[in-house]
């Protein structure tokens, strides 16, 4: 089993994609919240609020680094290890990913550079607009990636010609319900993650009595509000995807006939589907925890409990971790539930992998999964460290004024 290149390629993809998504969910959620916070700060010309934006933005940028690093590996990994998929389905599956890299990520990274380096160097509305572009292109990026992923789950809009899939209906590809519903679910659940992060970090600081200029009072309320608003839509949009699991995709039967499809599915591993079920259970369980805690937080709000009830301030910081876990669980459910198919009813995962020797597959696994473990661990540690530290000395805090160490007489006679 361990000399099977397919297993190593799959494990590598699963672990790296799961790690990538954790940082992406944080990015998507916090981007929207930071944009709102910066808008409020710029509108009111409030330096204290802008200092708060620097704090949340500092966490965002530290997180974004790992998001980019993991994203680079995801992109090249698809080209390196999943050549079989590209050979047959390259025109249909990889075209939306091309759009994502050119239109969305290109712009997002450029404008984030402008936002980081343009602080106090440009008109404050332009600076806000830069982050607006960053937020918009982050969600656009998620959309295009999910168009590709949605195609795998519900292949539409193509025809097989000479053993290669040719795109015949771009509109169908882009409006694929599997893609649209997944995007809706990811977008709303990311807001849930962002809200819980803001609420959790704010509650931590309020518990310790650290609240410069009331930023964490505002933070805990905003976070609880956004998370509560996002809670039911997350479940609703997610649940709307269940019917898609049962129906066969419209293009079913054009590559393999029904008997072959049944045979392949019957031979599929039950362990994989068991794991998929576990992912679903984890995701649902976490959501249930939020369902129990968020109404309590909402109830505490008018009773000033968010500022004073210590048990709630101990509980809230745990929730963001659960929300990230729920995201990974959800992806396990989605991806493992599609197995043994890479492209449902057209290509199995075994056919999609590049022909690699077991040694090379293992080398790739060790190199990249190992690198991810190290870098994700470091980033997670840094995030917790900076979250606990607060706005003083944060990653985006303004540079300290030049040290005036010239000796100055204390008394003048």
């Amino acid at each position: 089993m361990f000399d099977d290149p397919l297993l190593w390629a799959r494990l590598q993809f699963a672990l790296t994609a799961g790690t990538h998504y954790t940082f992406v969910a944080f990015t998507l959620g916090m981007a929207a919240l930071i944009l709102a916070a910066q808008f409020s700060a710029v509108l009111r010309r409030d330096g204290a609020r802008l200092a708060a934006v620097r704090f949340w933005g500092g966490l965002y940028v530290v997180n974004y680094g790992m998001g980019v690093l993991s994203g680079l590996v995801m992109e090249v990994q698809l080209a390196l290890n999943w050549n079989g998929l590209n050979d047959v389905f390259g025109h249909v599956f990889s075209a939306p990913l091309a759009v994502e890299t050119v239109a969305a990520f290109f712009t997002e990274s450029t404008f984030l550079g402008l936002w980081i380096f343009g602080w106090d160097r440009m008109n404050r509305w332009l600076h806000l607009a830069c982050f607006g572009v960053v937020t918009l292109t982050a969600y656009l990026s998620a959309f295009w990636v999910l168009v590709s992923n949605g195609f795998l789950k519900n292949p539409v809009g193509f025809e097989m010609r000479d053993g290669v899939a040719v795109l015949t209906d771009p509109a169908a590809l882009v409006t694929n319900p599997s893609a649209l519903l997944a995007f809706g679910h990811v977008a709303v659940s990311a807001l849930l993650v962002g809200g819980l992060v803001m609420a959790g970090v704010s509650a931590y600081h309020l518990r310790r009595g650290n609240d410069p200029d009331g930023m964490f009072r505002r933070g805990v309320r905003r976070g609880v509000l956004v998370a509560s608003l996002a809670l039911f839509p997350t479940a609703a949009v997610g649940g709307a995807q269940y019917p898609l699991l049962v129906d066969a995709p419209p293009t079913s039967g054009t590559t393999l006939d029904a008997a072959e499809i049944e045979r392949i599915e019957a031979a599929a591993s039950g362990v994989v589907h068991g794991l998929a079920g576990t992912g679903n259970a984890v995701m649902t369980l976490c959501w249930t925890v939020f369902l129990c805690v968020l109404p309590l937080a909402l109830l505490a709000w008018p009773l000033r409990g968010l500022d004073r009830w210590r048990w709630l301030q101990w509980l809230l910081p745990v929730l963001p971790v659960l929300s990230l876990l729920a995201g990974v669980g959800g992806w396990l459910y989605r991806e493992l539930g599609r197995q043994p198919w890479a492209v449902r009813h057209h290509m199995t995962t075994a056919e999609a992998v590049t022909e690699l020797s077991p040694g090379l597959a293992l080398l790739s696994f060790v190199l990249f999964t190992g690198a991810f473990a190290v870098l994700a661990g470091i980033t997670g540690w840094l995030l917790v460290r900076f979250a606990r530290r607060g706005p003083e000395g944060g990653p985006l805090a303004p540079a300290p004024a030049p040290d005036d160490t010239a000796a100055v007489p204390v008394h003048r006679y």
Binding site: L72, V99, V102, G113, R121, S364, I378
Partner: protein
């Protein structure tokens, strides 16, 4: 429409080499030009804004090749699997170094991530040299040509980095401490002269090595690179180095385009239509963003910020 479409990944790659050559080259040069902690910090804060805007060109190039030219992607990327794994590893650790370096104020932390930046940058440049040699050799690394090609590509990256460093390492407040910028400026001439020796040797090796079958067009591009290096090798070399190093690096994808037989047909026009239609509205935003970013960070590197 279909043969013109190959200009898209070619243009993106040329843009990548010209722009990312700056930060990769500077990372490679770092152990030589930056000796004090202050200078090492300035290296990172010089490279850091740039790499956000420059690496996206390669990300876009890989995306476009995978999405519109699957046959090309299969032959180049999957075909040269170990080389691209090396490139990705170098890229990953170089970026990790830049992102993480400034997060903890400890000398040991700085040392580790500075090393990651330097080693990663070298790995990137050497990998590109190997990829170039493999593409010109028709999918196999030609034994005679490869080492010279790798050295030549490394010299070009170093030259670009030196040209970049000569401007960007100048201290922002006019204070003392411009040794690293001066070292980089002097290095441009030395590197150009090295290139003037290595490049003709590479051309000779290509001619002598039976595996390389590049034609007259590739030779013409090599002559252009040689001219750029010659300009940089003279007394006023450092002054011209920003322009000539860009020309020399942009010529790299041109050498491949002229000299290698690659499958560049777009066999699915609807995929091309989808990609063009979806990216066209973003093009003005992308252009504005890139120009604005490079103008914003053209001033010499600030003493402190997120990255350093």
């Amino acid at each position: 429409m279909e043969s013109v479409a190959v200009l898209l990944p070619a243009g993106l790659l040329a843009g990548y080499f010209v722009l990312a050559g700056c930060d990769v080259g500077l990372g490679m040069l770092a152990p030589y030009v930056a000796r004090t902690p202050q200078e090492r910090r300035r290296i990172v804060s010089a490279a850091a804004p740039y790499f956000l805007g420059s690496e996206v060109w390669l990300v876009a190039a890989v995306g476009v090749v995978a999405g519109l030219f699957p046959a090309l992607e299969a032959e180049v990327v999957a075909g040269q699997w170990p080389l691209f794994v090396a490139l990705l590893a170098g890229w990953l650790w170089r970026d990790a170094g830049l992102w993480l370096r400034g997060r903890v104020a400890a000398a040991a932390w700085h040392a580790v991530w500075d090393a990651a930046v330097a080693v990663g940058s070298w790995l990137i440049a050497l990998s590109w040299g190997l990829v170039l040699a493999a593409l010109l050799g028709g999918g196999v690394l030609p034994p005679l040509f490869t080492p010279v090609c790798v050295v030549a590509v490394a010299v070009l990256f170093l030259l670009r980095g030196a040209a970049f460093g000569a401007e960007r390492l100048v201290p922002v407040d006019g204070s003392a401490g411009s040794e690293s910028a001066d070292a980089a400026a002097r290095a441009t001439r030395t590197l150009a002269r090295t290139g003037l020796v290595v490049l003709p040797v590479a051309v000779l090796a290509a001619w002598a090595d039976g595996g390389v079958d590049a034609g007259a067009a590739a030779l013409a591009v090599a002559v252009v690179m040689l001219a750029a290096l010659a300009v940089t090798a003279g007394v006023s070399g450092p002054r011209w180095s920003r322009l000539t190093s860009a020309v020399a690096l942009a010529a790299l994808p041109a050498v491949v385009a002229a000299g290698a037989e690659l499958p560049v047909a777009v066999s699915d026009p609807r995929s091309l239509t989808l990609v063009v239609a979806a990216t066209a509205p973003m093009l003005p935003v992308m252009a504005v963003g890139q120009v604005w970013l490079y103008r914003l960070v053209r001033r010499p590197a600030a003493a402190s910020g997120f990255f350093a």
